[in-house]
């Protein structure tokens, strides 16, 4: 019995198919090695370094590799830092919902109601084009829009709706939310449109022939089939909003402090260990969010 199996193993080891498979695998390994090494050296290692340094000792202008939990204790006992976690989570939830609410009807229109392929592509391209322009310019463009002498106030006053300029529009949490919603909406519209456009037309026709109303069709067919798009969009928006600091820094007038802003200001004053602690907290939050989302959808299958 044993001798037979060994014989067979020897036979298959020499077979051209197995040889070729081995060669292919070696080739795949060689092709992947540079990319994987690059990612480990310049992404994984830096992230591990953040965790490591969060336990270093912070002196006035430097960090020393003497391990301590002092930075963690200071972070956890500071109301500024803890409230930054709260602000980050609040802004994240609001922007996520806003991009979904603002973006879904647009995706529905482009994906379901526009039948002409060329028009469909043109509309999608029109949504994506702002993504190609400078991020910082898009952020700063909200200032002349929302300021007390900005376009919105000007128009509202001309129309006689208000007689005093609204001051809450700029340098407030509101401007940060509006700015982020505009900037990240594209990442919601794109994946959802893609999923809706993929829905088989005959399925919707069948439902209609059977007397289903539009609402039923939407609830029973379109919504469930667009869910992977929503999740993929939510992942994109989440990781970008959670790691944000530039929008808050330029539009909130220092009123909104996200974890990203804490990191930037701590690095600015050479408090590397505190920055690292904030970095680890942010990493934990983002990992939790992505893990949760990936439980719902397999990213690799959707892409």
């Amino acid at each position: 019995m044993t001798s037979v199996t060994t014989d067979m193993a020897v036979a298959t080891k020499d077979s051209p198919a197995v040889k070729r498979e081995g060669r292919d695998r070696r080739r795949a390994f060689m092709l992947l090695a540079p990319g994987v090494v690059w990612m480990i050296l310049f992404m994984v290692l830096p992230m591990l370094m953040v965790i490591y340094v969060s336990f270093w000792t912070q002196t006035t202008f430097a960090v020393e590799p003497t391990l301590t939990t002092a930075s963690w204790e200071r972070f956890m006992s500071s109301t500024t830092y803890i409230s930054a976690i709260g602000t980050t989570l609040r802004i994240w939830v609001i922007v996520l919902l806003a991009t979904l609410v603002v973006g879904y009807p647009v995706a529905l229109f482009i994906g379901l109601f526009v039948k002409n392929r060329t028009v469909q592509t043109a509309l999608l391209v029109a949504c994506v084009i702002p993504f190609w322009t400078s991020f910082l310019i898009r952020v700063i463009a909200w200032r002349p829009m929302l300021g007390t002498e900005g376009a919105i106030n000007l128009i509202l006053m001309k129309l006689g709706i208000i007689d005093q300029p609204l001051t809450f529009l700029l340098f407030s949490e509101f401007s940060v939310l509006v700015g982020m919603t505009q900037i990240y909406c594209v990442f919601m519209v794109g994946p959802i449109t893609f999923m809706i456009a993929r829905i088989d037309e005959s399925m919707i026709e069948a439902a209609r022939d059977l007397g289903a109303s539009f609402w039923t069709i939407f609830r029973r067919i379109v919504l469930p089939l667009s869910m992977p798009g929503v999740i993929v969009g939510a992942i994109f928006v989440s990781v970008m909003v959670l790691g944000e600091f530039a929008t808050a820094a330029s539009l909130s007038g220092r009123k909104v402090n996200l974890l990203g802003n804490i990191i930037v200001s701590q690095v600015g004053s050479l408090k590397w260990a505190f920055a690292a602690v904030a970095g680890v907290v942010l990493t934990v939050i983002i990992t939790a969010v992505i893990t949760l989302a990936l439980r719902v959808v397999d990213l690799r299958k959707e892409m």
Partner: protein, 281 residues
């Protein structure tokens, strides 16, 4: 489908959405033509190209200092070019590897994708700490460059993966078994199939790197890239010269997009002509 007023309602909504997307940029473009005395808001005192001239330093000295974009622009372009080359090569190699099934492809896939997911401020911080620890000076062509590749390589990889998924290897094998040399096969068969993907991967890498900001912030060292030079001016009072710069940089991105579109169109029409010839024969 009894959609009734639903379709027009959604159409109007989509139009408002586009206005929401483009409105700020339109306002910005209008205000970039503000006159010298006007501020970064309405009303327009007088239409002029003053702030464009100011940007290029061809106006008489003014109280507003010139935007420090000259050297930064050159650095950003070189950096974007380096990033484009490296990430397109890495992305193509990795996607080619994924054509064979191998153990551990799942974790490797997510490792690569993580590069575009992980917030810039985190890897930036990590890289800065790492370079401090290792005693390496931070520089745009070093620490910032490797992070730019970490960010753009996943995009190139995904684009190429999509191309390879549609690439039937038997076409290549047929060419080889008909006695066509490997070099010819690559030029006539493999390259034409891959070219649109490579072009898209390059476009992604270039524009993402050119505009990259959060990864660069902690890793750039003393010499700034273009987005950082711009960001530096945000903390002080802003002037319409930033708006003028915004218009120009947006036009630059559009030019890239148009060049990409033209190359793509020319390429696909050539392929269409080629297949037309085959049909005629």
């Amino acid at each position: 489908m009894n959609t009734g007023i639903l379709k027009p309602t959604l159409a109007i909504y989509a139009a408002i959405f586009l206005l929401f997307l483009y409105g700020p940029l339109i306002i910005l473009a209008i205000l970039s033509f503000q006159s010298q005395g006007g501020g970064p808001q309405f009303p327009i005192q007088e239409w002029s190209t003053y702030w464009y001239r100011h940007l290029f330093g061809v106006t008489e000295t003014s109280r507003v200092s010139q935007l420090p974009v000259g050297d930064a622009l050159v650095r950003s372009l070189i950096l974007a070019f380096m990033t484009t080359v490296v990430s397109t090569v890495l992305g193509t190699m990795s996607a080619e590897a994924f054509r064979t099934r191998f153990k551990g492809s799942g974790p490797v896939f997510y490792l690569i994708i993580l590069g575009m997911m992980v917030p810039g401020v985190l890897v930036g911080l990590g890289m800065a700490l790492l370079s401090n620890f290792a005693g390496i000076d931070r520089a745009w062509w070093g620490t910032a460059f490797v992070l730019h590749v970490v960010y753009t390589y996943p995009f190139a990889f995904l684009v190429m993966l999509a191309i390879f998924n549609r690439f039937d290897r038997s076409v290549e094998e047929a060419s080889l078994s008909l006695g066509v040399s490997p070099a010819q096969t690559f030029r006539r068969v493999t390259f034409p199939i891959l070219f649109p993907g490579v072009l898209s991967a390059m476009l992604f890498s270039f524009t993402l790197s050119y505009d990259e900001f959060s990864r660069t912030l902690f890793t750039v060292g003393r010499e700034l890239t273009l987005p950082l030079a711009i960001y530096g001016t945000f903390s002080v009072e802003i002037y319409p010269n930033i708006f003028a710069f915004g218009v120009l940089t947006t036009l630059f991105s559009f030019t890239l997009l148009v060049v990409y579109g033209l190359l793509m169109k020319r390429f696909t029409s050539r392929r269409a002509r080629f297949s037309g010839q085959e049909e005629a024969a």
